[in-house]
Every structure is written in C-alpha cells, then in structure tokens.
Symmetry: D2
C-alpha cells in the first residue's frame, strides 16, 4: 500500500499542437491516482463525500521532466507524504510504463473541508487508513 | 436577440496533435453561447438553477466543416429552434471572426429537469423569454 | 471483434456542478473506444498518423439517456457502421458496467484526411481491417 | 505592461460536483493570461512557434485560496518574474472581478525549446520584450 500505482493510456484529447500532452492534464492523472490510492487504503472517496467531507486541492506543484505522448501507457506512483489534522499531502511520480523513464514529479496538499467548505479535522478512521511514507521516488 | 453572438479566442489547451481544435471542445463553446443567449434574453442560468431547475443536454449534434486553430477568434451564433413544454432546442453556427468562414453547425436539445433530475415543464416566464427563430444560418 | 468494449472509471474532473458527468466528456470516451476498436482490429492509430493519414471527426451525434456519475465504471461498445472510400462511421453504446443501464448512444462520422487535411481514400489494407456490423445495440 | 490583466467568465464545463471550479482548469487560465501578456508585449505566441520556438511548461505551482464558481467573472494578473537565457518564469494572481477577492496565486517556469524539444536560448528580440517586474500582487 504505502506507494500505489495506477496506469493510464494517453488519449488524443490530452495532446496539444506541440504533439505532446498538454500540461494541465497531468493534474487529472494525479487526481485519479489519489482516488485509487484511497480506494486501496479502504476508503472510497465517493463515500467520504457522502459522509459530508471534501478533500479540496489547496496547493498543486508539478515538475515536468519529459513529455508524455499520445498512446503512451503512463504510470502514476502515489503516496501520502504528510497527514496533519486538516491537511493531507500526497506525493507522485509519473513515468512511462514501457521503459520507466521519469516524466514528472508532483505534490498536492489537500484540505479537509465540511460540506460548507469550512476547514475541518480529518476523521480519525480515515487518518488511520493513510500511513505516511517518507519514500521519495526519483 | 433572436440570434445572439459570442466570441472566443482559441487557447492552447483546446488544440490537439493534429494542430487544430479537438472536436469535443466545440461542445463547450455551444454551452457558453447558450448561457450568453439566455443572459441576453434576461435569464441568468445560475438563477435558473437556484430556482431548482436544470437544463440538461439530451442530444448533441455537431457537424464540422473547417478546423479552428490556435489563436483564431471564433464566433458562435445561437438561437432557439424550438421550445416545447419540457424541451428547448438550440441551433448554432460557428464561424471565424476574421473572414466569416463557416467552421461548424450544431444543435442541442435541452431537457428541462427539476433538482432531482426529473423531466418537468419549463416555467412560463422562462418560455416567454425564448422567442423561437426559424432562421438557419448557413 | 465486430463490437469491441472498453471500460472507463469516471473521474472527478469529468463531473460538473449538476453532480453528473459533463456532456462533452462523452465525446472523449468515444474517441478512446474508437482507438481501442482500431487496435483490436490490428491498426494502431499512432502508426496510421505516422503513415501520413488522419481520421478527423466530421460529424458527432450523441443522445444522452441517463447521467453517468463520479466513480461509475462505464463501458463503451463500439462498432463500424459504415465504411465508404473517404469516410468511416462508427456507432457506440455507453452503459454502466454494474447493471448494464443504457447511458447514451452515439455515432461519429470520421473523414479520412492526408497530412495536409485534404480528404483522401482510406488505404485498402485499413479498410480490410474494418468489418462493418449492422448490429445496433440498444 | 509589466502586469497585464485578462478576464474570463467561468463556464459550466469548468465546474465539478463540489459546485466549484475544478482545480486543473486554473492552469488553462494561466496559459491564456500568459498568451495575452506576450501579445501585449508585442509578441504573438503563434508567430513564436512559426519561427521554430516553443515555450513549454517546466514547472507549475498553484496555491488555491477561495473557490471560483460558475458564472464568476475572474481576472488573471500576469507578469514576468524572471527571464533567464533558457527559462522564463511568470507570476500570476487570480481574483474575482466583482469584489477583488483573491482566489489563487501561481507561478509557471517556461522552458525555451526548439522545434525538436531541445532547450535553447530565448531570442534576444523576445527577451527584450519581456521586462521583469518584482511586483508581487497579494
């Protein structure tokens, strides 16, 4: 669990006229990886929202190393970097499945909010599901 | 009013590796044009939702003639083709502002829904704001 | 082969404030399904472009039946409806994997273009890979 | 010029089921603001690409303060923070046009590339068009 892996086949809508993936789309891949990381940890994000909580992106930091291209199979490694009472920080490494070439690294700080968008404490049962890993994949 | 006009500058995120605008993005331009058409008619779509109604796309039909490209200034002409009790159909013509070259024509059938996604009758005050035009711009 | 199937987990970026999938995103699912259909037929779309050809959407027709929602696993059935010398038409049925409930049906007419965006004949080896099926899944 | 301003009306496609703008869309707003900043400076990004250059995002850093919502008119302030020989860093402040409330701050580091995606020196005439401003709008 501490580091999970999701795969994605790059589709045409994600490319731009430079012939590579448009940079904003990487943020969506992080989101999918985070959702699957939570699912592996035993937490459905849909259920979390149904309980009246939200995880909203407070900060996004992406560093692009090599471009991803149409039809590439990419992998997103995801882990919890830090888990504070109102804020959970995830780390990510994106690489190409074929040859493992590093494409990007990223970090997102998620704010725990209630249904009215007020910062709130992460429920204890959820925090317990999110072991922090110091592992940084480069 | 019967036909309104909105303009949009094509941005980089909308292009794909063919070097033209990715086709799904035209649907967003129609949405923006429709929202502005309603605003011109005196109806804020945000207020319409606040009253408990939704306009959901039931059908989308787009015909692409010439590609739009990065940095093109495009225009969307929008009008109401038909207004039934539970369904409003909009027509669109997309062209290039510079030279008027036709890029696409489209039609969307919008279902009137209540907050629980059940089909409902369009409120009389809203229907009164939406004069139908037979005008088809080609 | 005649009808292929691809699956997709609905992600958060695809939802809108109605709490369902934003309608334009279905067009991307069709694109992915088409690319996978071609791959199953033995044709990599990336290679097709490398040979100097393009398949550009000339017409898109989508009918929405039930909304898809966050975290739904959806399936896209895809088949070739018609294969003419310069135009290939694909049919699609989108349903929910869990219970098979129909979400949308669609059709896209693809124009065969050369690298300069001029209509051209589909190469014979590609046409031979694309058996037409009359099957309409409803 | 040192700080330019672009405006954008939030459209429905940009919202998510939290009822606010999906975070990845802010990156597109930055892109539009950057393109308009360059245009104000006398540089068309389309022409820059036609000359064989690319500006690719090497790093993206976004901090979200308050959510943007459907139909909000938002403003993006944009300036050049740093201009090195192969890298131009832009700063951004996003606020709501109505009341000036700060929604987000951001920074993107752009790599200057040639047509083959190799890092290259920014042309002198372009660098001359990009006065650096120390101004940080908070």
């Amino acid at each position: 669990m501490p580091v999970t892996l999701t795969q994605h086949r790059v589709n045409y809508s994600e490319t731009d006229q430079m012939g590579v993936v448009y940079h904003a789309n990487y943020a969506v891949w992080l989101d999918v990886a985070r959702t699957e990381h939570l699912r592996s940890a035993g937490m459905s994000y849909a259920d979390f929202e149904a309980r009246g909580f939200r995880l909203a992106v407070g900060e996004l930091h992406l560093q692009y190393r090599k471009p991803a291209r149409f039809d590439d199979l990419i992998r997103v490694h995801c882990w919890v970097q830090e888990c504070a009472s109102r804020r959970v920080t995830f780390g990510y490494r994106i690489d190409r499945a074929d040859d493992g070439v590093l494409l990007a690294t990223a970090r997102t700080a998620m704010m725990v909010l209630d249904a009215r968008f007020r910062p709130t404490r992460i429920p204890a049962d959820v925090a317990a599901m999110l072991p922090v890993t110091a592992e940084v994949l480069r």
